[in-house]
Amino acid sequence: MVRFKFEGRELEGREGDTIAAALHANGIKVLSHSRRHHRPRGFFCAIGQCSSCLMEVNGEPNVRVCIVPLEEGMDVKLQPATGGELKW
């Protein structure tokens, strides 16, 4: 079991899951929101091509959670549609 956090909640995923697969297995379908109307967005392509699953992971915005492997202790959050503050 791999423990991680989603919006402060403690969740468990399985070894070898991507972040998105683990969230889905926990019943979490809303991964992001559209920019203007803030409509909920979910998983669509699963291969890193559609940008529907961008989330903040360990403080890093715009992570494609559908292709990034889940790791112990990861802190996964919904992000503002623009990806939050720019960090240069």
Partner: protein
């Protein structure tokens, strides 16, 4: 800066075959793939392959990468997974990102782009709701991660992919409310379609999805019948109770990087959309870039592998491999592609490729 003779971008069947062939002709290869493991679309294909024996028919898709990633070539092929090519520059420098923060540049003498294809979208109200998935994503969830996508599915598209994924959903215990197909006939192989029919899943030809409804995720979908002019027949609208809408309406080539490089494109619907212009050996006019597999035109894994071998051999020849050996591989591949694209099944692809060879460029 990482220097390499041959860079292969994408480790699906096309990229793996390209790397394997170039390596067996004595060329050092760097292969990068943004996924967790190589295999591309194949890693989710638990079904046995259709196609001819020479091209792994009867082998399960998930087992093919092993056949392509051979021990004897491992010295010559360096594979980096979790590595995305993010930029391409005219001076032949390619930039890549491993994980979230290891950014580096690659300078390659030749590169083969085998970035595959991505699911096509359909426009209807609610198409952006969570619960609307591409068929490949449903396969990824179920077959790769063992996670079911939802409780009840509406499948849109009755081509091979829509039919196979529907059947896999049933195998995973997820009911399929119906398969809707706008065309008047089922596109997929009838053996698979009849398995669905026997399981009681209606395959509704001349039907389409009008809307997905729900608040934070799909709660239902509205379908309706189409007439001969593809217009909705009033009064046939029906709301089906599903939490997943799965789109299997085709794939389109992932050509963004090639565009960055200034590769000339042409819109060829038979090949899935905008595809790079290239010669018979799959070389583009850039002089150092080849393409292979679905990125060059959406076909099947068998053709992708042969295209990979063809591009791998052609690039190897330019990089100093034994010319005769390379030429033998090239002619074998060309013959093999002709055979794969022969007959009525290959007609669409043949006419698509014919359009690439002549005619005006309308990129």
């Amino acid at each position: 800066m990482v220097n390499t003779d041959l860079l292969v971008v994408g480790g699906g069947p096309a990229g793996l075959a390209a790397a394997d062939t170039a390596a067996s002709l004595g060329i050092d290869v760097l292969l990068v793939d943004e996924g967790r493991a190589v295999g591309g679309q194949l890693v989710k294909q638990t079904h046995k392959f259709f196609g001819s024996g020479e091209h792994y028919a009867g082998v399960r898709g998930i087992d093919i990468p092993k056949l392509l990633n051979r021990e004897e070539n491992s010295q010559r092929v360096r594979i980096l997974t979790d590595t995305t090519v993010v930029g391409c520059y005219e001076d032949g420098v390619v930039s890549a990102l491993t994980g979230e923060d290891n950014y580096f540049k690659i300078k390659a003498k030749r590169a083969i782009f085998a970035t595959g294809a991505t699911e096509k979208f359909l426009s209807f109200p609610g198409n952006d709701l969570p619960g609307v998935y591409g068929a490949g994503a449903v396969q990824t969830l179920m077959n790769q991660f063992g996670v079911i996508p939802g409780k009840r599915v509406l499948m849109v598209g009755a081509g091979n992919i829509g039919i196979i994924v529907s059947y896999q959903l049933l195998q995973a215990g997820v009911p399929v409310a119906a398969v809707v197909e706008a065309a008047p006939t089922i596109g997929g192989y009838l053996v698979h379609a009849s398995k669905l029919a026997r399981a009681g899943v209606p395959i509704l030809t001349r039907h389409t999805i009008l809307e997905a409804r729900g608040k934070d995720a799909v709660e239902s979908a509205v379908i309706a019948q189409l007439d001969d002019n593809w217009q909705v027949v009033p009064g046939t609208e029906e709301e089906v109770d599903v939490d997943v809408v799965c789109l299997a309406v085709g794939l389109s080539p992932v050509v963004d990087l090639l565009r960055q490089l200034g590769c000339e494109m042409k819109y060829v619907p038979e090949l899935g959309g905008h595809v790079p212009i290239r010669d018979k050996n799959l070389k583009t006019a850039t002089g150092w870039i080849y393409v292979a597999g679905d990125v060059a035109g959406v076909e099947e894994a068998s053709a992708a592998m042969v295209e990979g071998r063809l591009a791998g051999a052609a690039a190897a020849a330019e990089l100093g491999a034994d010319k005769q050996e390379a030429d033998t591989v090239i002619s074998r591949c060309l013959a093999s592609l002709d055979a794969l694209r022969g007959g009525p099944v290959g007609e669409k692809i043949r006419s698509g490729i014919a359009k690439l060879e002549g005619g005006a460029v309308n990129a």
